[in-house]
Symmetry: C2
Subunit: 801 residues, 2 copies
């Protein structure tokens, strides 16, 4: 591969000067609209001299990055017109929102999607007034921005979103601007390794544009202060073939950028043609552009005697005194008029026809591309009927399987059905190198792990054309999947439960995206984001405390109830049923919590379907309720696989020792159902809640995660104080599975003791049973204390213990 | 700077063959002890032929990375003996725990710190039996491992911890092994930029060793399949001067590694000497080593006809059938005997004296270095008395300041007091480029932002010798601070509240570290980790929804109550008081939540000290309680600055309109105090809780974060159901500050309506007041709806509204 391509300018076709001049005029119009959004409440097209009263009362927005973003937009438009290539524009510098809004207005998309912002003078005025205004739009690129699959608030994910969008979209070119501030983040730094995972045969292209303007909010950036050679060799070492476009003279920069894009497009076409005609070309040196332009380019150079353009002072609002200071106001007017609005816009405030002609046609406009509104491309996932994957459960609690294994078989069939003749498809599994560890290895019967590298004989199911995405980065897995879903496809992220926290902030931001998208009428529904949390806290006994953490549940519970669902299937058939539901659903974020180890199985597939659809049920076969309809003495509830095991074992002990105590067993799959129905759309109805938990019986509740999460959900339910929740209390170490439930006071014995303490009636023989439980716990303590010396076989304790 | 230094081997002093042979024998001993830990329950020194009964019942552990880690340990020992340089060993491949345990046992540290694991045969047996065993130690490098400041469970943070350890420790060499699996993560990828922040004049050195053995759990790694040229140019582009050491012949690799370390040490000494004698040398090309050795080096090459050494099959337990399979058992015995334990250990199982002599002396042993047990180095932070920084508060709610500004002045004085003549010190502030944005800019009166780059005239408070650490990465800020604290210093991480979620998983892991450390007797207390969450959800109205998220509170609440505290100071003096407390404290993780914008101020410093020490108080001046001691009709409670404002405004409305209604106003600073005292050591006593909230009055509680977090804490308190919590309900956008509280139903009007609804008595004129509130909310709705057209001045609503 080519390491550094600095000295090799691409073949330059003529860029006729009249076309350059037109492109510069579009750019001037875009810059004008950007400045206008930040500053102007009125006199939007400068029909008269500007007054202080025309300026917005509160100046918000980010000028610094915007001119560069618009320059690239202009040049991509030219590329699209010239080649017909569908392009997606991912704007990493999210604070460049006004630039993307300006360009999508210029191309006509904005007014089509938002009729209140028309393509005329009134529209320009409204465009300005809505920006960073209550009831209006934010200063970030985001959900409301036409053409965006990327929210620019939390920095770091531009390039992972771009890669996710390009996977399995062979015709697509994803241009991705990375700001030099964002480039300092960990996730962005990790995401440059796209060339190791992008298959030229079946994927589209990602064209990163590292936009170095030198400063973040207030200090220089690391890459901004690095040499061209350093930056290029950084990119080249990771599989890119970068070229540098640098300068502050618009004509020269436009000319160079045009040539760079032309060269990039040609190189991509060559790479893809070679790969698609059967050539094998690993890490072919994908084009990349390093674009160095001044921060706040074309803005005020000096304000109050201080340099602004090219410094961090251009980051937000370069002229801060315009509301009261006449000199600042004059500077603003001069700045605005430097873009010659009277040339770029007609008397009616429409874009001049010769400029309007520069926009690509219809859906090729980047604001209109269906790739950025993935619901328009999405087809329902081709899922098989579940029966073929069900675990045989002759009676509850008699067979054991690795709960996630049948799901792996189902996903293998999904891969089988969705793989297209060219080797692409619309489903992918993303996993940090744990697909087999998580017992989903059946997928490798259909496809391989993806890596653009020579495959050695010692490798296991590895291929450049594999479509299982394994990379040791939760950020990449999560971000790739987000990009993949938002551009109309399906997928799942399977990960160790504890380390799902690594990408928790991304999940939070994706929930916010979906919540906001529900209010944006033109956005069509996209597939839900489904995260399988496995290798859970209870069964990471061999890995120890760092691997034991169910915190992602707590991180998503407070988010939008319209988006978030948390599922705790107790066994394999329930996991199949829930996964099937989640993979068919749209616009949700689903956490599926299910451990990968051998677990007892309880429900047939038919029973599982009924149970999961209800969200929670009474398991009559496990309880000791009377037939006379009288209330139970105590309710034992469980949510999660290990809690279910312990509750069932506790129920068995109670049944055996105090058989006339009326114990009800409830299993909860749909955690958010515990929230009142006026809070969550899937909150159990009051009637359902009463059927499960009665109105007043004490409930001993064994929960997979941190116990107080359940208390937070139950507030507002009748008698929330009667729930006694046991769960993961952050007690962990390298130990046995049973010791884990003892350490966290959720063992069968603890549950029996709690049930006896809280039961409505003190049962005969209750004291003897309690003594037995305490004795067993003491014996266990001795057992663990002596374990280090005894070293007996370390095993799980069976259900009948 | 030097870009790639492949062709320039360092000057090689003789490495006499007899010394090489001794080093290889230490390595053999370390490998022996590593394999023994994974496999052997008995016959620890192979005094007799191995039997199935000698093998552990459960085989856990990770062989793959261990031999390489031990090889580096041996060579660092040699370097330390030769030069007397204090070294810290940061082992990124955390699953290499047994290797580090083995080496620290060999050097004698282990037995000194853990007398039960003696330096003899019984100790070896105990060492083996404790590993990955209940009651024993985990397979990761971590808290219990001598010489570690790094937990190897969640990958990605080795190099940030290493850099944090090196800052302001001018004599220290931090050797940091980065596994090629870990190198795929985002945070690790982002952390290579150390040379842009490491000051040769006052900081120690970080020597990264990128250990490429080619595979992670089951697939090849990106760097493992990259060429030497690619890897080196990746490192060189970021300021490193890498050399490659590669091979599988131990003698050759040892010789090359010795030379590489010798060269690295010489180069570091030159760099530091130049910088410390007044030379300016930005990014001088810090040495780095790329070490390519086979995964599972010296282990079984082939098992059952399948290649194991050098493949992912060597990752964990290369021989899985040893408990029952005679051939596997024979392979294990042959493997163990290949290390000639009879030569390396005496008949008593002690390390052979000629090998024991290879260990450095005393605290120079890497397992004993005080740098890894920072509490031994830590001196209390030199904090000034607070009085000089207090805000003048003549009466509550009459003055406004930016709440974080006085804290910035305090921190400036801390910098002033702690800066040493050589420009170092023991306090640093870490912040993602927001120090000034967060109103802490007073620190720049004392020191600058740190960047190893040419300083331009347009830069603002920038210097290679600055000690405010600004990098646009929450991962780097958090990780650097962790490394800084664990090696005995003090600091603070100040960040936008919403984006604190980016590094949430690191905070979780640090809490786990401190929780575990409390059980490790030899670990001395270290300074608490203090995170200032500012630019909060309520006052990111200009940035919009992506910037509005108080979720870190929810992420830490369920963690160890012995470690976690969450502070919500309502004003500047309370923030000073709390920050002072946190900066003096040890072994905690403190979240401080305080917005940076202008806020009303309520308490004098003296009042603040009493209030914060109590954790929560009744603010009598704000309530309308009778003097006769009778119970209030309703309690209004607040936790957080904006909630306090709204509650006070609500109380004023109630006082004005229904003056005889008895309203109590409670302010909560110490959030975890709401937990029952048997759950959290700082839980308010039942008496204190009753004094605040009575036993049965209804409580309308305005909370800074997600409301159900409070419900989760209150479970177990008397009448938890009487608390009606309002807070951030994940309703956000670009709007006014007041609209934010309206959108989330926490406005003064909502609080009045809730108070009237829940008050014990229906007050006279209550209906009129309720009507007034509803009217005001309707008017606000109109106001916001029309805002886009009206565009009045966007302002906060004052307290008297």
């Amino acid at each position: 591969m080519t390491l550094v391509d600095l000295a090799a300018p691409p073949t330059v076709d003529p860029y006729p000067v009249e076309e350059l001049e037109l492109d510069l005029r579009w750019w001037a119009a875009a810059n004008y609209l950007t400045v206008g959004q930040i500053y102007l409440a009125d006199d939007a097209l400068l029909d008269r001299p500007l007054t202080h009263a025309d300026v917005k009362p509160r100046l918000l927005g980010h000028w610094g990055t915007s001119p560069g973003l618009s320059a690239l937009y202009v040049q991509l438009n030219r590329l699209i017109r010239r080649t017909g290539t569908p392009c997606l524009y991912v704007a990493g510098p999210g604070h460049g929102g006004p630039a993307l809004v300006a360009n999508t207005w210029l191309e006509g998309t904005y007014s089509e999607l938002y009729p209140a912002i028309g393509p005329d003078a009134a529209g320009v005025r409204a465009l300005f007034r809505q920006f960073s205004t209550p009831g209006g739009i934010s200063s970030h690129v985001g959900v409301a921005t036409p053409g965006s699959v990327h929210e620019g608030g939390e920095l770091g994910y531009a390039l992972v979103h771009a890669a996710g969008a390009a996977f399995d979209h062979p015709d697509l070119l994803v241009a991705c601007v990375v700001g030099d501030g964002e480039a300092e983040t960990g996730p962005l730094s990790g995401s440059w390794k796209v060339p190791a995972f992008l298959d030229a045969r079946r994927d589209g292209a990602v064209l990163p544009v590292l936009h170095l303007n030198g400063y973040k909010i207030s200090s220089p950036t690391v890459w901004g202060r690095s040499s061209d050679e350093e930056v290029c060799s950084y990119l080249a070492s990771q599989g890119w073939a970068p070229v540098v476009v640098s300068g502050d003279d618009p004509r020269l920069v436009f000319t160079d950028l045009e040539a760079a894009l032309r060269g990039a497009h040609e190189r991509i076409a060559e790479i893809q043609a070679r790969a698609r005609s059967g050539g094998e070309d690993l890490r072919p040196g994908w084009p990349a552009i390093v674009l160095r332009t001044p921060k706040g380019w074309t803005g005020p150079a000096v304000v109050d005697g201080v340099q602004v353009e090219g410094t961090s002072r251009a980051h937000q609002v370069p002229l801060s005194g315009v509301q009261t200071d006449d000199a600042h106001l004059a500077l603003l007017e001069r700045w605005l008029r430097s873009y010659s609005p009277e040339l770029q816009f007609t008397a009616e405030g429409r874009l001049a026809p010769e400029l309007a002609a520069l926009a690509p046609d219809g859906d090729l406009r980047m604001g209109s591309t269906p790739y950025a509104n993935g619901g328009r491309l999405r087809r329902p996932l081709d899922l098989p009927v579940l029966a073929g994957y069900a675990v045989d459960v002759p009676s509850p609690g008699t067979t054991s399987v690795e709960t996630t294994h049948p799901l792996g078989e189902l996903l293998a069939e999904v891969y089988r059905r969705t793989t297209t003749p060219d080797g692409g498809g619309d489903f992918r599994l993303f996993c940090p190198d744990e697909t087999a560890s998580n017992r989903l290895q059946s997928v490798f019967e259909v496809t391989d792990r993806c890596l653009q590298a020579e495959v050695l004989p010692t490798d296991d199911h590895l291929s450049p054309h594999g479509r299982v995405m394994e990379v040791l980065s939760e950020h990449l897995c999560e971000g790739w999947l987000e990009g993949y879903l938002l551009t109309g496809r399906h997928g799942m992220f399977a990960t160790y439960e504890a380390f799902a926290m690594v990408s928790a902030s991304m999940v939070v931001q994706h929930v916010k995206w979906l919540q906001h998208a529900a209010d944006v009428p033109w956005r069509a529904p996209v597939s839900s984001l489904t995260i399988l949390l496995t290798s859970t806290c209870w069964r990471n006994d061999h890995n120890g405390f760092s691997h034991q953490g169910p915190g992602l549940i707590d991180a998503v519970i407070p988010l939008s109830p319209a988006i978030v669902r948390v599922w705790l299937p107790p066994d394999a058939n329930c996991l199949l049923s829930v996964a099937d539901h989640c993979l068919r659903s749209t616009d949700h974020v689903n956490l599926l919590v299910a451990d990968k180890q051998q677990h007892l199985q309880y429900l047939t597939l038919a029973e599982a379907a009924v149970h999961c659809a209800a969200g929670a049920s009474v398991w009559e076969w496990a309880g000791t309720e009377s037939d006379d309809g009288s209330a139970p003495d105590v309710v034992l509830a469980a949510a999660g696989d290990v809690p279910t095991l312990e509750v069932l074992a506790a129920a068995e002990l109670l049944r055996r020792e105090v058989p006339w105590l009326r114990v009800r067993m409830v299993n909860v799959v749909d955690l958010m159902g515990l929230l009142p129905p006026d809070v969550h759309p899937h909150g159990f109805t009051p009637e359902h809640f009463r059927e499960l938990f009665t109105d007043d019986a004490e409930v001993v509740f064994a929960f997979h995660g941190y116990p107080r999460a359940v208390h937070s959900l139950l507030h507002g339910r009748p008698g929330a104080g009667r729930f006694h929740v046991r769960g993961f209390e952050e007690q962990g170490t390298t130990t046995t599975p049973f010791d884990m439930v003892v350490l966290n006071r959720m063992s069968r014995y603890h549950l029996v003791l709690a049930a006896l303490e809280h039961a409505r009636r003190t049962p005969e023989h209750g004291a003897a049973l309690a003594a037995h439980c305490r004795e067993m716990l003491l014996r266990h303590e001795d057992h663990i204390r002596e374990h280090f010396e005894d070293m007996p076989e370390v095993r799980d304790w069976s259900w009948s213990g």
